[in-house]
């Protein structure tokens, strides 16, 4: 670990490095969060709030019988989504960990690449897949399995859960893969040697050991899925109102900030209670904070079932995207089968549409700015965190990472009330702040992980060889982690470019690309949206490839240098 424990050992500059990030974060997250809590007990003004303190906000929501319906509907989406996503991800993570061998990197790439398709468009893709004339219904009818289209596929809870699972599955797979990493196959072999069959090994060895990270992933999806409203809007049919939708409506249409704040806090409380129950359950079963000991590694395992499931998962993730791309070239305006020929007309429409290109470039500029700020502030903060007192480190790290565990609605609502209280109007600047809150934690998490894995001895060697503290930073630490910085920056760009839930709260008259897609998708259903998202996907993939090539080139350059040093010609 790069972090120093003793005062004397600690290089200076910690506070200086972490300062900008800390100040920024307090300004755009901590204070707004506190303000949101305060708003809930203020009196409602039209799109604002004022003194005196009152409990009207809370009283309103608790007296309304609809409140619990909203919460219930959200949990009815959240729990099944979390369960399905985690259950589907486990075999994939298992296969990647133990059986994948050379296929591991390509499969991971294919998984993560689906995240580059726009959030909204992926939801939208399911609409074409699941509709009455969508691929699935048409296909099943052709094959003769059903006589009439299945109605429940679309505009139902089923559709919402499928759409959300599709969104979160790659993330959960990566989280679980991280959890599986320290589980050596020796444990599985010991289990078998002691008499356990395959299922028993899962029941008595794998799942208990991984219970905490699995439930952690479950909780994360529960939080995001329960507060998500865009998916339900597109796929859910509008019969059941979810609490997320109600919160948005309360803020944006009713303009009742205290009530909106009260709803948000209620949502948080329900999620916190779920978390508490799960955590208590883990502790009771003695399955929390397990320390993996000395375990024998083993050879790669055979896992044909898990491998087949992984293939199915990849198909599940890619088919909607492929359809989106395919239909962006559709000659007619229909989005269901049969496919009637190729044409570039929708792309032309897009470029003719001034608003669309304006939104595109605005998103591009925004993402670039967000990435620049996040990269600088985030890198400094990550370094700073390794150089400050343990107590300060834990507190600041917690504050920085908190937005990951909170529903985006919370972040959006908090900034909205805060900005309104300060008297600012909504504009691209407020959107920028919202994006920063969402990107900084991810960036910091990735960097922190990389820094933690560094060998502190390397810095000490540099110092021993004569490097001054700042030089140690630039010549020893930075060269080792710059691939991580590049990767995290690419991810930041993608997150900002595609950001929707928080942006919705904070946008003024100017639209970003996701807002444009959302607005347009609600009015007309035509392949223009497919064209937008295909372009988006293309841009993301390109960024990814460029980033990967840069990293590979640098690694090759560095190993070439090492080779010439070792073998002078």
């Amino acid at each position: 670990m790069l972090t120093r424990q003793r005062r004397g050992d600690r290089p200076r500059g910690g506070i200086l490095a972490v300062g900008p990030g800390a100040v920024l974060f307090i300004a755009i997250f901590v204070l707004p969060a506190l303000w949101l809590l305060a708003t809930s007990v203020l009196t409602a003004e039209r799109f604002g709030s004022s003194l005196p303190l009152t409990l009207d906000g809370f009283r309103d929501i608790f007296e309304s019988p609809l409140t619990w319906t909203f919460v219930k509907n959200a949990l009815y989406i959240g729990f099944p989504t979390a369960a399905v996503t985690v259950a589907a991800a486990i075999p994939v993570a298992y296969w990647l960990r133990f059986a994948a061998r050379r296929a591991r990197i390509p499969v991971i790439f294919l998984l993560i690449a689906t995240l580059f398709a726009s959030y909204l468009v992926r939801i939208y893709a399911w609409r074409t897949l699941l509709g009455q004339n969508g691929i699935i219904n048409v296909g099943l009818q052709e094959v003769g399995l059903i006589d009439e289209p299945l109605g429940f596929l679309l505009f139902s809870r089923f559709a919402t859960v499928i759409g959300l699972t599709h969104l979160f599955l790659p993330i959960v797979v990566m989280l679980l893969l991280g959890a599986f990493q320290p589980l050596e196959s020796g444990y599985l072999e010991v289990g078998r040697d002691l008499g356990a069959g395959s299922l028993t090994v899962w029941r008595r060895v794998v799942l208990p050991i991984l219970a905490q990270p699995i439930l952690g992933a479950f909780m994360l999806i529960l939080i995001i899925a329960s507060s998500d409203w865009a998916t339900a809007t597109f796929l859910g049919g509008g019969r059941d109102t979810l609490i997320g939708q109600e919160i948005l409506r309360t803020f944006q249409q009713a303009g009742n900030y205290p009530r909106g704040a009260a709803y948000t806090i209620l949502l948080l409380a329900v999620l916190a209670a779920s978390f508490g129950i799960i955590a208590a359950g883990l502790r009771l079963a003695g399955l929390n904070n397990l320390r993996m000991g000395d375990a024998a590694p083993g050879p790669p395992r055979q896992a044909p079932l898990a491998g087949a499931w992984t293939a199915i998962t990849l198909v599940f993730l890619w088919v909607p995207l492929v359809l989106v791309i395919l239909f962006s070239f559709h000659r007619t305006a229909g989005l269901s089968l049969p496919f009637e020929g190729f044409s570039l007309r929708w792309y032309r429409t897009l470029f003719d549409d001034g608003i669309a290109s304006e939104a595109f470039f605005r998103s591009l500029r925004m993402a670039a700015l967000v990435t620049a700020i996040t990269a600088v502030v985030g890198t400094l903060a990550a370094f700073g965190l390794t150089r400050i007192r343990p107590l300060a480190r834990t507190t600041l790290t917690g504050a920085f990472l908190a937005p990951i565990a909170l529903p985006p609605i919370f972040v959006g609502a908090a900034l909205l009330t805060y900005v309104a209280a300060l008297g600012y109007t909504l504009s691209t600047r407020t959107i920028l702040l919202g994006h920063l809150v969402m990107t900084l934690p991810l960036f910091l998490l990735m960097l922190k992980t990389a820094l933690d894995r560094l060998d502190p001895a390397l810095d000490e060697v540099s110092a021993d060889l004569g490097a001054r503290p700042f030089q140690v930073l630039t010549r020893s630490t930075l060269p080792q982690i710059w691939p991580t910085i590049v990767g995290a920056s690419a991810l930041t760009f993608a997150v900002s470019f595609d950001e929707f839930p928080v942006t919705v709260f904070l946008s003024g008259p100017e639209m970003t690309l996701p807002l444009y897609i959302y607005a347009r998708a609600r009015k007309t259903i035509d392949p223009t949206i497919n064209a937008v998202s295909t372009l988006l996907l293309g841009v993301m993939m390109l960024l990814c490839v460029i980033g990967a090539l840069m990293v590979l080139a640098a690694q090759r350059r560095r190993s070439d240098q090492t080779n010439t040093l070792a073998n002078p010609a």
Binding site: R192, D193, L194, R291, M292, A295, A296
Partner: protein
């Protein structure tokens, strides 16, 4: 073999892709025997152990236990248990839970489980540690729990894969004593893999020396040490020198003499001709340069080892390196001294094999 083997490894071969890990291995183990499999890293001994355990299917051959072919029986149903190289204790269970794991799967009654667990806790001196979690144990304690977890199931054959190699020397020696004691007390058949030849000789009733996937020798430890079957075995076990020499015909129907560069070493029944002579480091006497019947050489290196001193001497005649050991009380020789080596202990003559190279350093430990 007078008694039917308890465990018979019958013609087992295993290939990984185009690599031969094991070639036609035949080993018979009697009931209650302690057999060690020893050889350098990568020679296939762990592969063989995993095949006996059922974690790997051999490309060819059979595993026969008590006369029954168990080759296709899956690992979880074989009456064998494997103690792994690392303790691999389940982190979500305490010591008792770990030990009980196999018993619960065998669906034994609660009372029976309790009895067996107590037996094995007493046997391995684990009293008082039942409620501890693995991370609260020392390295030695963890391996003892790992051993207990396997033994409690009363396997027909206990398989051990270098269980002591990750431990400190002191703990390792203690646990070796424990292992021999446990073996005596329960009388089970033990199959023990190690790359440490000292350990292999110390623990075993019989030693199987592996060379690149094949069995080089199976014998009692004393026999492997004193009469190695090949140069490989000679080099691997103990601190030996394998020197190029020749066998000279005995005069007047006397015995043939083994010699190195004309310097007689001793009588042998081997046929005249070129040969390799195996002489242990401790069988040399280091005398003065020019003594009769001694090999001339120069001291290259000297290492103090407590009760002995180890010398490396380069022979003047052909540059072969000889490792010789002298008692600490003997007259010391300095680096660069010219000395005369004579063989005062045992030696073995073996046929020269293709792989005997002239610049040998006898492999030790």
């Amino acid at each position: 073999m007078t008694t039917e083997a308890h465990l018979h490894i019958d013609g087992v071969s295993h290939r990984y892709g185009d690599q031969d890990a094991l070639v036609a291995v035949n080993i018979g183990v009697a009931k209650g025997e302690f057999v060690t499999l020893v050889g350098p890293s990568g020679c296939g001994k762990t592969t063989l152990l995993r095949i006996v355990a059922g974690l790997l299917s051999p490309t060819e051959g059979r595993i026969v236990l008590n006369g029954a072919d168990i080759t296709s029986v899956p690992a979880n149903r074989r009456p064998t248990n494997l103690v792994f190289q690392r303790p691999t204790l389940f982190p979500h269970l305490d010591v008792r839970g770990n030990i009980e794991f196999g018993l619960k799967l065998a669906k034994l009654a609660k009372a029976e489980r309790a009895t067996r667990i107590q037996e094995v806790i007493d046997l391995l001196h684990l009293g008082g540690l039942e409620r501890r979690r693995p991370f609260e144990l020392s390295g030695g304690q963890m391996q003892r729990v790992s051993l207990a977890r396997a033994l409690v199931n009363r396997p027909e054959v206990l398989l051990l894969d270098e269980p002591l190699s990750a431990l400190d020397m002191q703990i390792r020696l203690e646990l070796e004593v424990e292992l021999r004691r446990v073996h005596r007390e329960i009388g089970a058949t033990f199959l023990y893999v190690t790359h440490d030849q000292r350990e292999a000789l110390a623990l075993a009733d019989r030693v199987v020396v592996f060379d690149n996937g094949s069995v080089a020798q199976i014998d009692r430890p004393e026999d492997v040490y004193r009469t190695p079957a090949s140069a490989f075995v000679a080099r691997f076990v103990g601190d030996a020198n394998v020197l190029a020499g020749e066998v000279i015909s005995g005069k007047d129907h006397g015995e043939n003499i083994a010699a190195i560069h004309g310097c007689p070493i001793g009588p042998t029944r081997h046929e005249p001709g070129p040969c390799s002579v195996v002489i242990r480091a401790e069988a040399w006497a280091i005398g003065n340069h020019g003594s009769p019947d001694s090999l001339e050489g120069t001291v290259l290196d000297r290492v103090f080892r407590g009760s002995t001193v180890a010398y490396r001497v380069q022979l003047t005649a052909d540059g072969q390196l000889v490792r010789a050991e002298a008692a600490a009380g003997d007259p010391p020789r300095a680096v660069g001294d010219r000395v005369g080596l004579s063989c005062t202990g045992e030696f073995v003559v073996i046929a020269t094999m293709a792989e005997t190279d002239s610049s040998q350093e006898g492999t030790s430990d």
